[in-house]
Assembly symmetry: C2
Homo-oligomer: 453 residues x 2
C-alpha cells in the first residue's frame, strides 16, 4: 500500500518530532535515530553533522528556537582554553555529538569529541558544519545579532584559528586523519579528503560574513588570503574530466623543481584510466576524492561534489559538469535510492587494504558504495542551483516510493541501492529530515540562500 | 681486490671531504652525493636529514665548526613570522635542503621546504633532526652557550610551537602527510608514522634540555606533559610481539565508549597474522609502522625502531626485544647489506595501491624493502646501547666488504640486498658518513651520549 504524499509527509514530521532532544525543558537538537527496536548505543545522542538537515528544515518552518538553542549549547561545549595537553580536545573544536545525562536529578550535557567513538575518529567536520548552521540561522532570521554576541564571535574566531594555524605542509587544504567527516571509518580518506576541503571552504566564507572585522583583522586577512588559494587548488588539482584524465594519462613523472607540471607526481597507472575512459561522459566531470604525494583518489564522493556546487567552490562550468555527470550516470550514482555516498565501491584487495577489512564497509555497503537518503537534500539544492530541477524531482520521486515503507533507514546497500542497509537503523533522523528538506528546497527555491552564498 | 681496512677508511674520508659544501668561504654542510658521472638534479644540495651522519662524525672528529655553521645557516632559513599564508613554509619549519646559489658574484642560500621536491612532500623530520643535531653539538662541546643564544632559543621555541600547536586529533602523536620523513615518497606512511613519532619524542627531549625555562614556561610545561603521554601511547599501541599479536588477533571490534579495549578498532584480518605468527621470534618484538582508525601497519621500519632504542622511547625490555628480533631475523633485515629500511616489501596489489604504482619503489627496491647503508650507524648505536655489540660488528664486517668497491651507493635492492640500487647514485655522502660513523661508535662507545639521553 502506497501512502499518498500528504500522509507521507505527515508521518515523516511525526517521526522527526519524536526525535527532538530536550535539555532543561528546551529543544536543543535531534537524536540520531528513534528506533525503539534496538539498543541505543550512540544513537541516543545528537550528532552535529546529523542535526544539520533537521536544523535547516526547522529554519524553513520558522521553528528557529531549537536551532538557536543547539548553537548555544554546542558553543558552550567548545573548548576555549589554549590546550597544549593532547588528550583533551583542542581549542576551537565542536564535538561530534552530545547527550543529555541525568545525575542526581540534574541534567547536564556530555560531549564526545571522538574519545568515545569507535576507532577514536576525529570529528573535524563538526566545527565547519556548526559555522554553516550559524550562518543559516542568521540568514533565516535576517538578523546578525546572535552572531555578533561576544561569545559567538569568540567561537567563530577559535574555529578559524584552529583551521588556519601554521601546519607542516604548504597546501591551502586541511590535513586530517582518516574518518574525520561523514565517512567516519577508515576509507582511504586520510590526508586531504574532498569533503573536508569543501566544508572548510564554505566555513571560511561563512566566517568571513559573520566575523566583525575590528579586532579580528589578522583572521579576516588570513581568510581573504586563503579562500582564492584553496579555490584554485581544488578546481585545478582535484578536477577530473576526460580532458584532465588525458593530461594525467600522459603526465611525465619524477619532475623536480618549480616548473613541474605533474606537481603531485601522479603515476597514470595508479588511476583506473581504462574504466574512467568509458565512464566519464563527454561533458561531465567531478572533483576527485583526495590528493597527496603520488595520490589522486578518482572515486566520486557525493557530499564533497554536491557541497562544492552549493558553495561555489566548483566553478560555474564545473558545477554544470558535475550535474551532467550525475544525470548521465544516474543508474550508477542514484539508481533506486538517492544517492551513493561514494562510487565505485572498493572491492577485493583494494577493499581489504584500504578499509583495513572493515566488515561494515564491505563492497557496495554503508560508506563503501552504499546509498544515503540524507544526501538527497544536497542533490536537490545543487539541482535547483544549477537549474537542473528535474534531477531533484526525479530523486524525490524515487525516494518517496520507498522511504516511509522501509521505515526511514539510515542507508541502503547494493549496486542499485535496493537493499535496506545491512546494519541500518530505522527511523534515522537525518533520513527523515533530509527527505523533508529536499521537498522544501524543491518547492521553494527561495530557501536556497540558507546554504548558498 | 679487497682494500685493507686502513685504506678503506682513508678513501671514505677523502670522498666525504670532497662533498663538503662551502658558503662564503666556510664549510656549512655536505652535498647529498658527489657523483660526477650523472646530472646533479638535487644531489648538489645539502639535505638536513642526510647531513646528520656527517655532522655526528665531524663532532666526533672534533671538526665542530662545520656543524656550528650548518646549525647557524639553517636556523637563518627558518621562517620566523606567523604565517597565515599557506603557500609559504610555516613558522618554525627547517628546510629539507638548501644550496648555495651564485648571483652576480654574490653567494646566497636557497632553501627548499618541499616546494621544489618531487610530489611536493613536506620535510617534517628536518626540524626534529635539527634539534637533535643542536643537542649533539652541545654535548660534544660540553658548552650550552650556542643553544642559549637568543636566536637559537627562538628557533627551538618555534619548532616546539609548530609541533605542539592545537590540532584536530587527540592523540599525543603528530599527524603528517605521506612521505614526510626519510621515506619521502608515498609508502602508506600518511597519518602517524613511527619514524616521525620517534624523532618527535627525541626532539622533545632535546628541547627540554636546551630551552631556558624562564620565559618558556608554557612550552616546558607542554613538553613535560606530552613526553610521558607520547611514550605510553607508542609503547602500548605500536608494539607488536607474539603476545600482543595474540591479543589483537582475538580483539572484539566495533567497541564504543571509554571502556573499549580495541581502541583503534583494528580488524585482526587486516594484519598478516599468519605470516607474523611464523616470523615473530619467541622473545623478539618491534614497533609497528603506523597507527590510525582500523589501521596498524605491521611492517618493520628500521629507522623508527632503532631510534626508539637509542632515544629510550622503547622500554628497556622492548629495546632488547627489538635487538633480538634483528638478531633472529638477520637474514631478512640485514642479509648482505645493513640494513633494510622496511620489511617486508609491499608486493602485487598492495604495492600498486599503497605506493600509487611508484616505479622507484617496486618490491624490494629503494624505500620498499631496499637496504640503506646509512642505517648502519643507528644499528651500531642501538647494539652498543643494548650491549649487543656483536650485531654492530657483524654489520660493519658485511658492509665493508662491499661499500667501497661498489663506490658507496645510496641503497641496495633485492631480498638480500645484493643488487646495487636500480637508481642509486654512487659516492652518496650519508652512505660514506654512516659507515665511518658506525665504526667510530663501535670503537668508542663513549660517543654514544651525542645521540642518547
Amino acid at each position: 500500500m502506497q501512502l499518498d504524499k500528504k500522509d507521507l509527509e505527515k508521518q515523516a514530521w511525526e517521526a522527526l518530532e519524536k526525535s527532538i532532544l530536550h535539555y532543561k525543558g528546551n529543544p536543543v537538537g535531534t537524536l540520531a535515530a528513534y528506533d525503539v527496536s534496538v539498543e541505543a548505543l550512540n544513537y541516543d545522542q545528537c550528532f552535529v553533522r546529523d542535526f544539520v538537515s533537521s536544523a535547516l528544515l526547522f529554519l524553513i518552518k520558522d521553528k528557529t528556537d531549537i536551532v538557536r538553542n543547539f548553537l548555544e549549547v554546542t558553543l558552550k561545549l567548545q573548548p576555549k582554553e589554549r590546550q597544549l595537553d593532547t588528550c583533551k580536545p583542542g581549542r576551537g573544536l565542536i564535538p561530534a555529538s552530545f547527550k543529555v545525562v541525568l545525575d542526581q536529578g540534574q541534567e547536564y550535557l556530555e560531549a564526545d569529541f571522538g574519545e568515545h567513538a569507535i576507532a577514536r575518529v576525529t570529528p573535524v567536520d563538526s566545527c565547519l558544519w556548526w559555522l554553516l548552521l550559524l550562518r543559516a540561522y542568521i540568514v533565516a532570521k535576517k538578523d546578525f545579532s546572535l552572531a555578533y554576541q561576544p561569545e559567538f564571535q569568540e567561537g567563530i574566531r577559535l574555529i578559524m584559528e584552529l583551521c588556519l594555524v601554521t601546519r607542516f605542509d604548504m597546501y591551502p587544504t586541511l590535513l586530517v586523519p582518516d574518518g574525520a567527516c561523514m565517512i567516519d571509518r577508515r576509507m582511504g580518506i586520510s590526508g586531504h579528503p574532498l569533503e573536508i576541503q569543501v566544508l572548510f571552504y564554505a566555513a571560511l566564507r561563512a566566517a568571513r560574513e559573520l566575523l566583525i572585522c575590528r579586532g579580528n583583522e589578522d583572521i579576516v586577512e588570513a581568510i581573504d588570503h586563503r579562500l582564492p588559494l584553496l579555490c584554485t587548488h581544488i578546481r585545478q588539482h582535484y578536477w577530473i574530466d576526460i580532458h584532465r584524465l588525458n593530461t594525467i594519462y600522459r603526465f611525465k613523472s619524477e619532475e623536480y623543481g618549480k616548473d613541474a607540471v605533474n606537481l603531485f607526481n601522479i603515476y597514470a597507472n595508479s588511476l583506473p584510466y581504462d574504466q574512467l575512459d568509458k565512464w566519464l561522459p563527454k561533458k561531465g566531470g567531478y572533483l576527485g576524492g583526495n590528493l597527496g604525494p603520488s595520490q589522486l583518489d578518482s572515486r566520486f564522493f557525493s557530499l564533497g561534489n554536491l557541497m562544492a556546487v552549493i558553495s561555489d567552490l566548483a566553478s560555474v562550468e564545473q558545477s554544470q559538469a558535475i550535474m551532467t555527470l550525475i544525470e548521465e550516470r544516474w543508474e550508477d550514482l542514484v539508481g533506486d535510492m538517492p544517492m551513493k555516498i561514494s562510487f565505485p565501491a572498493l572491492e577485493n584487495e583494494e577493499y581489504r587494504i584500504v578499509t583495513g577489512c572493515d566488515p561494515k564497509n564491505i563492497p557496495w555497503s554503508y560508506h563503501n558504495g552504499g546509498s544515503w537518503p540524507v544526501l538527497m537534500w544536497m542533490l536537490v539544492a545543487a539541482s535547483v542551483k544549477t537549474k537542473k530541477i528535474d534531477l531533484g524531482k526525479r530523486a524525490i520521486e524515487i525516494a518517496q516510493a520507498r522511504l516511509c515503507e522501509d521505515k526511514w533507514p539510515e542507508y541502503y546497500d547494493g549496486k542499485k541501492g535496493r537493499l535496506i542497509g545491512k546494519q541500518a537503523r530505522t527511523y534515522q533522523t537525518w533520513t527523515i529530515a533530509g527527505f523533508l528538506l529536499a521537498k522544501e528546497l524543491l518547492q521553494n527555491p527561495s530557501h536556497l540562500p540558507l546554504i548558498c552564498f
